[in-house]
């Protein structure tokens, strides 16, 4: 089913829309959920996956097909909902090791004005990363893919992925500061 039809159903016939969305996107959503909260509790996984679809239904009016694919919108919701579950349940599953994830400086994402400006800077900065650094960065920090998976999917060695991530992180920090990120 294409995005337009699915969105139409979600807006006008929620039961049918949710059934179709679950049929079509559960595999995708579960991948994100498991990467964030881990494999330990099947019930938590199913609960979180279903929360994602409920959130999709609630927020479907915010989806703008002019801006991008529904799949990417669902991924962003899956990410958000999974991280909420992770934080709420204080899970021990390590998404990304701290030394790899640490930014080493603070970025203001609480003040609404700063947040809005910073979000744009972050997006533009990621977009400007060279290939394949951008892809690796998104896979690791946005989609929570493991280094081993990234290496397999991009036909690189794990060591090479680690090096590129490290260099990408340094580039990102420099670019964020250069582009005027609000600290």
């Amino acid at each position: 089913m294409n995005d337009i039809k699915l969105v139409y159903l979600l807006k006008n016939y929620p039961s049918k829309g949710l059934e179709a969305a679950v049929q079509q996107y559960t595999g995708l959503v579960k991948t994100i959920v498991v990467r964030v909260i881990g494999y330990d509790n099947q019930q938590d996984i199913e609960e979180t996956v279903s929360d994602v679809f409920v959130e999709l239904w609630k927020s479907i009016d915010n989806f703008d097909p002019e801006k991008g694919q529904l799949k990417n919108y669902i991924i962003s919701i899956a990410r958000f909902v999974s991280l909420n579950t992770y934080n709420r349940k204080i899970l021990k599953h390590e998404m990304i090791p701290l030394e790899e994830d640490e930014l080493e400086f603070d970025v203001d994402l609480e003040n609404e004005v700063s947040k809005s400006i910073n979000k744009e800077i972050i997006k533009e900065t990621i977009k400007s990363l060279p290939h394949p650094d951008k892809d690796i960065f998104i896979r690791r920090y946005y989609l929570f893919e493991s280094i081993k998976e990234i290496a397999q999917n991009l036909d690189l060695t794990p060591k090479s992925v680690e090096n590129k991530l490290y260099r990408g992180k340094e580039k990102l920090k420099a670019a964020l500061i250069k582009n005027g990120i609000i600290l």
Binding site: V49, R79, L109, Y142
Partner: protein
């Protein structure tokens, strides 16, 4: 100043609208998917609905093949009551054109009987009977899935109707007194060359039409099959 220190946290609330996000999708069992479906609808305060108020799904997922042979296509009469529901007062003009087929195929305890057909080179109305074995009754509203349904019409110009997945809804007829049905009848409306692949293909007619009030349109739920089927239930 916030306490945001993690890189992944920078990406919260960001939608990567125009990136090609390549993700390996996890395989789920049918049961797991169903559990998630029920959970989702419950949380949303919704229940599974359909145009006909579905209550259950019969676990019939089978291939059915019928090879139909008939010499005098659309030349015999019969089943006028069923045709009446389709054609109303015009029935007297069409009943003589119907063909009694009466060919059956059974699988998983359900028999599909092609009772009769009516049509021309462009449009068929195929009347199906669905019969449960041992006189069991269909529930008030059941879904029956056919993974594959093939109808080969040997003596009618070599038509072969192929369908990937057909869904029929068994629906109680409001005027019937019996609380349940052991046999139901359905008219399956076929627009030739638009829905099914035909061998050989007749030339599609630009003016092919069907009676709008007698047709329901339904899309299968399967993401692998988005064809629309037209059918009418009696």
């Amino acid at each position: 100043m916030s306490e945001m220190k993690k890189i992944h946290g920078l990406l919260d609330d960001i939608v990567m609208e125009d990136e090609n996000l390549d993700i390996v999708e996890t395989n789920l069992s049918k049961e797991e998917k169903n559990r998630i479906m029920e959970m989702t609808l419950n949380k949303a305060g919704l229940k599974r609905k359909s145009l006909f108020g579905r209550k259950s799904i019969l676990p019939l997922a089978a291939a059915m093949t019928l090879v139909l042979s008939f010499a005098a296509v659309f030349a015999q009469g019969g089943l006028s009551n069923i045709y009446y529901k389709l054609f109303g007062d015009s029935t007297r003009y069409v009943t003589e054109m119907g063909t009694v087929i009466d060919e059956s195929s059974s699988t998983n305890g359900i028999t599909l009987n092609v009772a009769s057909m009516l049509g021309d080179e462009n449009t068929f109305y195929i009347i199906f009977e669905l019969i449960k074995e041992n006189g069991e009754s269909f529930e008030n509203s059941d879904y029956i899935y056919f993974d594959k349904l093939y109808l080969e019409l040997n003596s009618s110009g070599g038509y072969t109707l192929h369908s990937g997945r057909v869904l029929m809804i068994v629906s109680m007829v409001s005027s019937m007194e019996a609380p349940s049905l052991s046999m139901v009848t359905a008219i399956f409306t076929v627009i030739v060359a638009k829905i099914f692949a035909l061998t050989p293909l007749p030339k599609p007619s630009d003016i092919t039409t069907i009676i709008p009030s007698s047709v329901y349109t339904y899309s299968t739920l399967s993401p692998h099959s988005s064809s629309e089927y037209l059918f009418m239930l009696l």
